[in-house]
């Protein structure tokens, strides 16, 4: 009797091992397939950026690299390809420089003003504290997309059209960043504040010497998210910038495509697309830990 149960258990155990192995293979195969599907559009673009315009224009879509990589990237970087009848071309380096400026300024600006306002809301008690907090919170419900025209009018009245200030300043108010820092500041033990008070440190000193150093990881995580947010802005620069010297690369890209004629200089467009993707993708890949932290924290 017991022998048969042993046999039975043995059979079950082996079946489980087999099933686990099969299971793992399914996982490998489907994951690889998923990665392929995700990477394929990029692969096609990178490969396309190494061929000449006529190869792509003819529709002979290549799947392997061609010989024109250097010339394509050089001409994208320096001239942005030939001008068309309706638009003059902008060199990629100008657009990348604008995007970089915008992304860094937005990230730094958002972090700076959110740190200050979160500090005020958490470490002080003053009349109007909750009002201030709610005013900041409500901005979550007013994305640019729902107030396009009146915001544009304000920008015109303030003379902020076609300026880096106009691109950056209206975007640096941040309810999410303020909420994140507030959440974090609430976890700083009361004893720290007491100790600072006993040592005679004022609120600004406490902010500089205690709160700021404690916030470093949060700031780094948020910077990654906000850099990507700034770099990927679309509607706002589309509205505010008509001067092509201030063009950001994401908007400039789609202007190069226009109506999507087969006669476009697709090789230059693809090279520019690769250049436009590189900085934010590099930030995510190389700062993955902070990126994941930033993403999951800001949504709490």
């Amino acid at each position: 009797m017991s022998a048969t149960t042993d046999l039975e258990a043995d059979r079950l155990a082996r079946a489980t091992v087999r099933r686990n192995a099969r299971n793992r293979w399914v996982a490998y195969i489907t994951l690889s397939l998923g990665v392929l599907i995700f990477a394929f559009p990029i692969w096609l673009t990178v490969v396309g950026s190494t061929h000449d315009a006529s190869t792509i224009g003819r529709g002979d879509v290549p799947l392997w690299f061609g010989p024109h990589a250097i010339s394509n990237y050089v001409s994208a970087w320096l001239t942005g390809g030939e001008a068309t009848r309706t638009t003059r071309s902008v060199p990629a380096w100008v657009m990348l420089w604008n995007s970089l400026n915008m992304a860094v300024l937005i990230a730094v600006g958002k972090i700076a003003i959110s740190l200050l306002s979160a500090y005020a809301v958490v470490f002080f008690s003053f009349p109007g504290r909750m009002v201030a907090f709610w005013l900041i919170f409500i901005t979550l419900m007013l994305p640019v997309e729902v107030r396009i025209i009146p915001t544009f009018e304000v920008m015109v009245n303030l003379g902020l059209i076609n300026s880096m200030t106009g691109l950056v300043v209206p975007l640096i108010a941040s309810a999410t960043a303020t909420l994140l820092f507030r959440q974090f500041f609430l976890t700083i033990p009361d004893e720290y504040v007491e100790a600072a008070k006993i040592d005679g440190a004022g609120p600004l000193r406490f902010f500089k010497d205690v709160v700021l150093p404690l916030s470093v990881t949060n700031i780094a995580a948020l910077f990654v998210i906000l850099f990507i947010y700034g770099w990927n802005q679309y509607l706002w620069p589309l509205l505010i910038v008509t001067d092509r010297d201030l063009e950001t690369v994401v908007v400039g890209m789609t202007k190069m495509i226009g109506n999507g004629d087969a006669q476009n200089e697709w090789n230059i467009i693809m090279a520019t697309a690769v250049l436009a993707m590189l900085p934010p993708v590099a930030v995510v890949v190389f700062m993955q830990r902070w990126f994941v932290k930033g993403l999951t924290e800001t949504e709490k």
């Binding site: 299971n23 996982a27 998923g34 504290r129 007013l142 406490f206 993955q288």
Partner: protein, 293 residues
């Protein structure tokens, strides 16, 4: 929740808040107020004077078949994007969660599309599905399907949904991974010992435990499809052909920026504000239960 120990002062905290409040006042509340105010006004044909018309703008917008059509387009688009991006991400997260070698490598390879701008994602999909230069576009035409998203509304819709979902999968994947990792392995092992097959384990244990994460993600995905996909539509289809891919956000842009229709655009803005408020309310109502079980 608030701190027990705090600093004294009234001027200093307000000073610290000043930059944030100034920006929100000038660039958020003032324009939002203007939109609400403007939604009750109408401009004459020459743009010289504006007069009060009550709810006429709203009545007109809500009776406009084009507006209603674009509302329906938005609903179809948003739910398709959310469903596609969520199911693909859940599937991949479950695979990546199985204790396999190289899981971290797969993770990195799956999360980077998050960094690609919506408009650039659109451009990548254009390279694949352009009827003359795109690999798949030409392939489909070669099979005699007659693929041209610039002429066929359904094809245009399909393409913007795919491009928008492609970009959102990584975001969902990260949250599903976090959700899966917090499910106690003992529970799954116990079920396995009891003889529950993988499919059954997924539907009876994993899926219910992930429900709060999924719900949270559903709201986030819908918000994304509503507001952050402007670049995709603008770069790929310009809302066309006809009105096939004109979502509410795209329409408010076209009516306000291109057609300069002041009253209608303001009324549309106000309607969108109400939608955002509802979505945010839902999001915050359930946010606490998000990743806790």
């Amino acid at each position: 929740m608030r701190k027990k120990v705090i600093f004294k002062g009234i001027a200093l905290p307000w000073l610290l808040l000043l930059p944030q409040l100034l920006i929100t006042g000038v660039f958020f509340f003032w324009p939002a107020g203007q939109a609400i105010y403007g939604s009750f006004l109408r401009e004459d044909a020459f743009g010289l004077s504006r007069q009060f018309v009550g709810f006429e703008n709203f009545a007109e917008v809500l009776a406009d078949p084009n507006y209603l059509a674009s509302g329906w387009t938005t609903v179809v688009f948003s739910f398709s994007v959310a469903f596609t991006a969520l199911s693909a991400a859940l599937f991949l997260a479950v695979q990546a969660d199985k204790a396999i070698r190289g899981a971290n490598g797969y993770k990195t390879l799956l999360i980077w599309p998050y960094a690609v701008a919506p408009a650039i994602a659109a451009v990548l999909w254009l390279f694949m599905f352009h009827p003359q230069i795109g690999l798949f576009g030409r392939m489909l035409n070669g099979l005699g399907i007659g693929w041209d998203y610039r002429l066929n509304g359904d094809q245009a819709m399909l393409l913007v949904i795919l491009a928008a979902a492609w970009k959102q999968v990584s975001y969902n994947f990260i949250f599903f991974m976090a959700g899966l990792q917090s499910i106690p392995k003992a529970v799954l092992e116990a079920a396995a010992i009891d003889g529950a097959r993988p499919m059954r384990r997924f539907w009876t244990i994993i899926f219910p435990l992930l429900a709060p994460t999924s719900f949270f993600l559903l709201v986030v995905n819908i918000v994304y499809a509503f507001f952050d996909t402007f670049g995709i539509i603008h770069a790929l289809t310009n809302g066309g052909p006809g009105q096939a891919t004109t979502t509410l956000i795209y329409k408010v842009y076209v009516d306000g920026v291109q057609n300069l229709n002041f009253g209608s655009s303001a009324a549309q803005s106000v309607i969108l504000m109400v939608i955002v408020i509802l979505l945010t309310a839902v999001q915050f109502r359930f946010v606490e239960r998000k990743v806790h079980y």
